[in-house]
């Protein structure tokens, strides 16, 4: 149905609420890529079959990622009169017994991870209780708020992930979705929208954390019509699955943010640029765009405001450098993704030479929340200069791997130990790698550092798009740097010499070091090359390529020296 105002939106909201908090049983299976790898798709079909066989009145729905990757496949069950129960490790053999319990109106306590009595309604405020009214707390099952994995998390960007069916627009609306768009286009002037985002202190959730409001303002002031907005889902950092996960779990939150951004800067057309290989994400975003169009959130005269905006989903061809703004633009234009010198910045001259704003998925998913809850609320979360939250893909040698969202300013130690549960098998924690190929390592002794843009940059690392890879004593730092340089060598577009040749030379010298053929002047040579590449490369891929080396030299020089002088790899990884 076409939504023309508040009343229509309420109708869809009621429909969505009925589906999220139904009278009958609702069984939700986490179905993002990481879940499917662990067999969630087969588990879901088995549940649907079993429900039919045992004659249970229940709806079986796919939802996104709950973040509990270490307990996949996860299944959540809502039953009348009961809190929502989250089950972990639900493999195929457990399905018949689980459904049997549900058929009897019981709970399978031994597989339950936690219970949730009510769901926070972040956008509209307040809570919605499960089980029609006030469900009784079940004994012997921890409460959601007591689970260590969640206690220090704060979900704003991932507010709907794992909670709604990503392919049902009414479930997104029931969680306050598109009410921010309605408010923005009918009650606010574009300049007011930009001011609010600026006041909120929202910074780009990739790269250096450029203030989103300032980017929008310079684009809105840029001369010329036919402006564009682009959502960048192309940060192909090797080692993060989080953008993919948000895309698969809650595509509408990204889309709503993009439409609001378009309204703010005066764009009539936009693109969602998705990295190659994100099939499920592309499929879900295309469905989201289609549904949003049918509801009148896209197209002509959106919500009777006179604002027109259309969006296209574009899939990339698979190149890391296409996360860089100017390369991404070339790729959308149908060219190979080669970056160009900046300025002019895309905000002045971008896609087809028109003023263009490019924001990443996480940045955009924050926007609808800021529009409704206000800049003051948003800026109360986080640290002094880094506001809001950040999603991290917490992986590597850590007990509870998963997708976590934390308020900025939290310490690394809290993330790794309180949320992640520390290092498995009694091994010693060595370092954490953040910022991917353009970032760096932070050693154990600095694990009390707060996670914000400035602190991480000073420590030689980066927030970047949020991979947080925990490394134990069995990880060799020389090997890790060699790995990143090998990756960057392959991903260098080849346009400028410092990056094309310099990164290769650095990798070659490091390879020699790792094979016990290093010379004592090698470190000096590497440092010199690092400086020249940083100064001479055209784009950020090249400019930041030496970072992993520089940060590890700062903190783990001993390890380099052991390879060079003693011809030994202390971690036992490199073989000569």
């Amino acid at each position: 149905m076409k939504v023309t105002g508040r009343k229509d939106l309420e109708k869809l909201k009621d429909k969505g609420t009925a589906s999220l908090f139904p009278d009958r049983v609702r069984i939700m299976v986490g179905m993002a890529t990481c879940c499917i790898v662990k067999g969630a798709d087969k588990v879901m079909s088995a549940i649907a079959e079993e429900v039919k066989r045992q004659g249970v009145r229940a709806s079986v729905v796919p939802v996104g990622c709950t973040g509990l990757c270490y307990k996949e496949p996860t299944v959540e069950v809502v039953q009348p009169g009961k809190p929502k129960i989250t089950y972990g490790d639900i493999t195929l053999d457990r399905v018949p017994q689980l459904i049997e319990a549900i058929a009897k109106g019981m709970v399978k306590k031994e597989w339950a991870l936690y219970q949730t009595e009510r769901e926070e309604q972040l956008v509209q405020g307040g809570y919605h209780a499960y089980g029609r009214g006030t469900p009784k707390e079940l004994k012997g099952i921890p409460k959601h708020s007591d689970v260590p994995f969640f206690r220090k998390q704060r979900k704003i960007i991932l507010r709907n992930s794992g909670c709604i069916n990503p392919e049902k627009i009414e479930e997104y609306i029931a969680r306050g979705g598109y009410s921010s768009l309605l408010k923005t286009v009918t009650q606010m002037k574009p300049k007011e929208v930009i001011d609010e985002v600026t006041k909120a202190g929202l910074r780009g959730r990739s790269g250096g954390g450029f203030p989103a409001g300032i980017k929008w303002l310079s684009c809105s002031k840029a001369e010329g019509d036919g402006k564009y907005v682009i959502c960048n889902v192309s940060e192909g950092d090797p080692g993060i699955g989080m953008h993919k996960s948000l895309l698969e779990s809650d595509p509408h939150s990204i889309l709503e943010g993009l439409i609001i951004a378009a309204y703010a800067i005066g764009a009539k057309e936009g693109y969602i640029y998705i990295s190659s290989g994100y099939k499920l994400g592309v499929q879900r975003m295309e469905k989201a765009v289609k549904d949003a169009r049918a509801c009148g959130f896209l197209g002509r005269n959106i919500l009777h405001s006179g604002f027109d905006f259309s969006v296209k989903v574009k899939e990339g061809g698979g190149a890391y450098v296409c996360g860089e703004e100017t390369a991404l633009i070339k790729s959308i234009e149908g060219d190979w993704g080669e970056p160009r010198q900046r300025p002019p910045f895309p905000a002045v001259s971008g896609l087809w030479g028109k003023p263009t704003v490019i924001n990443n998925v996480e940045t955009l998913a924050n926007v609808p929340v800021i529009m409704t809850k206000g800049a003051k609320w948003f800026s109360s979360i986080g640290s002094q200069k880094s506001k809001g939250t950040k999603v991290f893909s917490l992986i590597g040698e850590v007990n509870r791997v998963g997708l976590v969202e934390v308020p900025l300013g939290i310490t690394l130690k809290e993330i790794i130990y309180d949320i992640g549960g520390g290092i498995p098998r009694g091994k010693a924690f060595k370092a954490v790698q953040m910022g991917g190929p353009s970032g760096g390592c932070i050693p154990k002794r600095l694990s009390n550092l707060p996670v914000d843009y400035e602190t991480l940059a000073q420590a030689g690392s980066a927030m970047s798009s949020g991979g947080l890879i925990v490394m134990d004593e069995k990880t060799c730092m020389v090997d890790v740097v060699k790995y990143f340089l090998t990756f960057l060598e392959g991903e260098s577009c080849g346009k400028c010499t410092p990056c094309r040749v310099g990164v290769r030379r650095m990798r070659e010298v490091l390879t020699d070091i790792s094979r016990g053929k290093g010379k004592k002047e090698d470190l000096e040579l590497l440092e010199k090359m690092a400086r020249l590449i940083k100064e001479g490369a055209i784009c950020n891929l090249g400019k930041t390529a030496p970072n992993p080396f520089l940060s590890m030299l700062k903190y783990f020089k001993d390890e380099y020296l052991a390879h060079i002088q003693k011809k030994k790899c202390p971690a036992g990884v490199c073989t000569s």
């Binding site: 890529t33 996949e72 080692g239 190659s276 899939e315 890391y320 590597g396």
Partner: protein
């Protein structure tokens, strides 16, 4: 490939409005139909779109998802993301190379039964190291599990 289905390629071009700006999407669809990007087909696309063949070659070789060579019946992709690397995915890749008797730069077995590719992050870092064969993804793969996996796809 000497002859190819012109009407099929025509259909792909039409689907994308014969628009050179959709070149990446067109090449993806062509590869979906042919399994790779045959030279003759690219020449045909170049003529039809009025886009220089050199540009098409640039795009096709720039992006990692395109292949100019025929690929094997089964495509084995080893994830080379950071999490998979830290969790010893490199050893798994080496074992696969040995088992499939591929040279260091060879990608496809002589009988074209298997193509081995190292791919960038698959996005399932929590189950690292990961290996994908065609549409099936395997989690927490060890070197010991490699033979078992290959056997499922007819490797004797």
């Amino acid at each position: 490939m000497e002859s190819f289905d012109r009407s099929m390629i025509g259909g792909v071009l039409k689907k994308h409005g014969n628009d050179g700006a959709s070149l990446i999407a067109i090449l993806r669809d062509v590869q979906g139909e042919c399994g790779y990007l045959p030279k003759e087909v690219l020449q045909y696309v170049s003529q039809k779109l009025d886009v220089p063949l050199s540009k098409i070659f640039c795009v096709a070789t720039f992006f990692s998802s395109f292949s100019l060579e025929p690929r094997g019946k089964n495509v084995v992709s080893v994830c080379s993301g950071t999490a998979c690397h830290v969790k010893h995915g490199g050893g798994v890749a080496d074992k696969l190379t040995r088992q499939l008797k591929l040279s260091a730069d060879g990608k496809t077995t002589a009988d074209r039964a298997f193509t081995l590719e190292k791919v960038r992050c698959m996005g399932c870092c929590s189950v690292a190291p990961a290996v994908r064969v065609n549409q099936d993804t395997y989690d927490h793969v060890t070197q010991d599990a490699v033979n078992e996996i290959l056997k499922k796809y007819g490797k004797s």
